[in-house]
Symmetry: C2
Subunit: 356 residues, 2 copies
């Protein structure tokens, strides 16, 4: 078992280094007017307290295989001249359809035993964005977010309203049973037991309402950012939210500028982590603003926001980001972040989970 | 009638200029260690196509009087050493309780004849924020947003979830009848007639879903920003949303970074206008980022984002903003924006509506 994990690690490290090398080489190139067109896609499957010791090799292999499938699918679309919009949507739908990630099929349960999903997409060319939050009957939230962006005058729609809009667009509403997975249900039961025990304890005297939050923070929001051959950047994120969440809580994923942002002038960013901190810092937009206003490179901008600002405020998580030259950055301040990228004509899918 | 309006204009212009002069004088001072403590509050009651010709003097007088009452109440709190949190909450509650503005009591109707309110508050000292969207039974949404910020672990809560949280905090849920005003109901009926006529027209061939939006854009979101004697900045915004809105649409008001942002290092901003554009540009955070990363002054930062970026993208509206030195900025690209400020020990309430 150990051998298998090490094999993956060995495969991942040089591949990742190769990816960075490619990105580094492309820094001074023009995004379109080159004989070797610059394009690529980077995805994530969530960040958190992923323990190298406790991660079972077969589980790691399953995550890496699904990430590779998603990133390869997105890359193929870019390779064939498709748009970054199509690439990120296709990649995220694959992750949404997998029970492994906390998005779509694998969404966690709320404190009421329901599933409430959020998603967001932003087009860096037009700065158009579409976002949905708290939907319960949408199989692929990312596709609905795209429809909000492309077929409505609004940017954000929530709950039943978003589902009514879905019906006008020919999207079928599915039964919540679709989102049942034994693993998420078991976690939900554990959280319920924990809460029941907490309720027997005296309330904190501060008057602060302490909502129960699943301490096991390894469930993963999914996201993708891409640069297509036409030089257009797109960012997208999809999530089932915080496990055992209450009160119609909305995290950073559907908040334009917090969990998702794209601007052809700078970069495309998709985030994962403790959403409240990402909202307060406007993480995705802040990375873009650092590039726009201070002229720093993508990697430095992303590191500043994640490793300095986010860490200082007490938040945890990370981002995947790509700029208009095809440079990528994937900083995170947790022990792990599931991620993968496929860049340029080579397009080798490179997966990774722990700190480089 | 004309005389009355001109009298107001004459009063407003020198007062406003005085305010700017005060702000300008205080630019090089330290916010706390001065014998004349720098503090102040700026509020708005919405921007839009307010026509100088069609605005009845008695209506203008009513708006100005309510704005003056709100800004004076907030200023008194600051004057007495209170916090900017208390000042903006008190000011906004007064505007929410008035039927004149599109927030609280005067909220517009959705396409379903209901009222759905949003609000947000952000504390520049801690970067903590609280936001609610789509609540239907909360008399003063701004106070619930503050409770989300101070008494929960979350930043944003929507719809029934936010109301359940309100109950845990001792906030009473009120009957929707409270929000009935004849004026808003008449506008709702007109919008319904317009829609019914539109439905008889052939659908647009583009496939774009054109949601009916009230063409009369003078309803006003309300907002306030303040700097207290301790040097802390706070921003807050409250709205009834877009008239005749559908699909659980969420605008910029409850989106941290779009309609509301505060950071002691830079400024506090509250926005009003076509919310979708404010979300796509992250207007409030973008003004802060321009100050933080490019070192420009508040007025230049706010003008760049509203008069250049927002206008270029096709959005309309404006912001009120204050920085840590007590400088203020109130740019808007519409014909009017209801606004008022009261600054420093003088604290004279200065109201304005049209372009300076």
């Amino acid at each position: 078992m150990k051998h298998s994990r090490n094999l993956f690690s060995r495969l991942a490290i040089p591949g990742f280094a190769l990816g960075l090398l490619f990105a580094s080489c492309s820094r001074d190139s023009q995004p379109v007017a080159t004989s070797r067109p610059i394009f690529g896609i980077v995805i994530h499957g969530g960040a958190g307290a992923i323990s190298q010791k406790n991660l079972k090799p077969e589980r790691e292999a399953a995550f890496r295989a699904k990430l590779a499938e998603a990133v390869t699918t997105g890359h193929r679309i870019l390779q064939n001249g498709g748009t970054s919009l199509d690439a990120v949507e296709a990649a995220i739908r694959i992750l949404e359809d997998s029970p492994l990630f906390n998005a779509g099929k694998g969404a966690v349960f709320t404190s009421e035993g329901t599933n409430e999903l959020d998603a967001c997409m932003m087009d860096g060319k037009t700065l158009k964005a579409g976002s949905i939050a708290g939907v319960k009957h949408i199989k692929n939230p990312i596709s609905l977010a795209r429809l909000v962006m492309e077929k409505s005058r609004h940017v954000m729609m929530v709950a039943e309203g978003a589902e009514k809009f879905a019906l006008t667009q020919g999207i079928e509403l599915i039964d919540q049973k679709y989102f049942f997975t034994q693993e998420r249900w078991d976690s939900f039961q554990k959280a319920r037991e924990r809460e029941s025990q907490q309720e027997k304890q005296p309330k904190p005297s501060s008057g602060l309402f302490l909502d129960t939050i699943e301490p096991d923070r390894k469930y993963g929001t999914v996201g993708a950012v891409a640069l297509d051959k036409a030089g257009n950047l797109v960012a997208a994120t999809s999530t089932g939210g915080t496990p055992y969440k209450r009160f119609g809580r909305v995290g950073d994923c559907p908040i334009v500028g917090a969990g998702t942002y794209a601007n052809n002038a700078t970069c495309a960013v998709s985030a994962t982590g403790t959403g409240e901190y990402f909202i307060r810092l406007n993480v995705a937009h802040d990375i873009s603003a650092l590039m726009e206003y201070r002229g720093v490179r993508l990697e430095q901008a992303a590191n500043t926001v994640i490793k300095e600002k986010l860490t200082k405020l007490g938040g945890d998580g990370g981002v995947v980001a790509i700029d208009k030259q095809g440079n990528i950055a994937t900083p995170f301040n947790t022990s792990g972040m599931w991620r993968a990228h496929a860049l340029g004509p080579d397009g080798k899918a490179v997966t990774a989970v722990f700190q480089p």
